[in-house]
Symmetry: C2
Subunit: 214 residues, 2 copies
DNA sequence: ATAACTTAATTAAACGTTTGTTTAGTTTTA
DNA sequence: TAAAACTAAACAAACGTTTAATTAAGTTAT
């Protein structure tokens, strides 16, 4: 029987999820420890008790969420059955799903990568991005060797578009909803819709940038 | 002699620019009125005296910057010399230049469109986006009528990519710089470089999404 | 099995700072 | 000499964190 490592207790995870939501909507400085404690239904002192400080609480939110890609993608990469383009598509699907499932967290990410105020978090973000880029780079160079992808692609710039598009969609989905008259949809259906559209859109983009075919 | 409407005095504009920079880097809640006053070299009370409150100060920053597109683009649109694609290119150049010239302000925008905390500002952003989209829509449908652009383009999604890419570049330019080993460049040269690359990149994207040609 | 003891969880209250804003007074400008 | 610009000081409220005390849970000894 394998004992799973429980980094945080159930109660701690509850606090972390509340904190994540509040940090996402109000920002780190815009959220008070009292707000978090109140919404989580715990005493204010518990947050220092469990996490040490407000800043370490934010760090803990990051730790909770940065299980990131790593394992999932490694196996995909080594699958020799798939064509380079198929691999890229699968990566994009995976990416969109991850982003949409963790919207609150990615809102925090957007803020923090602007602010760069808390060193350990800045470092976490940078490392994750580098790792991400290395993985995609393998995908791309693989496709280039096989002659399916163009050479001279600014990979960083392509990733900025992919991540930027997802971030922008997450940040301004209410506007997208209003402008396109999608208010009649349930929240759930709307989420499904933009997830699907985002996925298709990013694939189209990637194909257009990377391949010769039309 | 035409008297230009001076919305803000020179001293006020100085405060607004300091506030803009601090709001951009530390966020609205992360910036204290004392910080702003100190950096601007004025007494704290002057901020209430001039702008009424901290929140109205933020609003004033928006007012100062929302001279936006409007006039510039209208004339471009009506220029019958240009092909639809050339018009789109010109729009993109204009867009990138505006974004890069007002990076601080756009960092605030990114935060505020996530937060949606201050009603008047949320409304300002929404209106600007709608106006923006209407203008581009004219450009696109014009090109569609002439048979140069594809039909069935999700314009909102395309704009999300354009704006999202620019926002992401502005937010994570330090990472782009490090990953691509561009630290030897002067700040000025680096800014020029990413402005150019962003411009080219967005044009490529637009062309790939909108046109049939390769 | 229960009493004795230890550690962990939880609480209300208080701590010293910092927050945005206002006041009452002074200096500068027209 | 009236209005505008500016200042230092004070305001209450909110902030993150700590304290000291209490309750709950877990362990050991008998």
């Amino acid at each position: 029987m394998i004992e799973e490592k429980q980094e945080f207790s159930e109660k701690q995870r509850h606090i972390l999820e509340i904190a994540e939501r509040l940090f996402a909507t109000n920002g780190y400085e815009g959220t008070s420890v009292r707000d978090i404690a109140h919404e989580a239904g715990v005493n204010i002192a518990m947050i220092s008790y469990y996490f040490g400080s407000k800043e370490k609480l934010l760090q803990s939110v990051f730790e909770m969420r940065v299980q990131f890609i790593q394992v999932q993608l490694e196996s995909m990469l080594s699958n020799e059955q798939l064509s380079p383009l198929e691999k890229v598509y699968q990566f994009l699907d995976n990416f969109v799903e991850r982003m949409m499932n963790q919207q609150q967290f990615h809102k925090i990410m957007v803020r923090e990568q602007i602010a760069q105020k808390y060193e350990p978090i800045t470092k976490l973000i940078l490392d994750a991005k580098k790792r991400n880029q290395e993985l995609v780079k393998k995908l791309i160079t693989d496709g280039q060797k096989k002659g399916v992808f163009k050479k001279n692609v600014d990979l960083s710039l392509v990733l900025i578009t992919v991540i930027g598009t997802a971030n922008q969609m997450i940040s301004t989905q209410h506007i997208y909803r209003e402008i396109n008259n999608l208010e009649h949809l349930s929240d759930e259906d709307f989420q499904k819709l933009i997830r699907k559209r985002l996925s298709v859109h990013l694939k189209t983009l990637f194909k257009a940038i990377l391949t010769y075919e039309q």
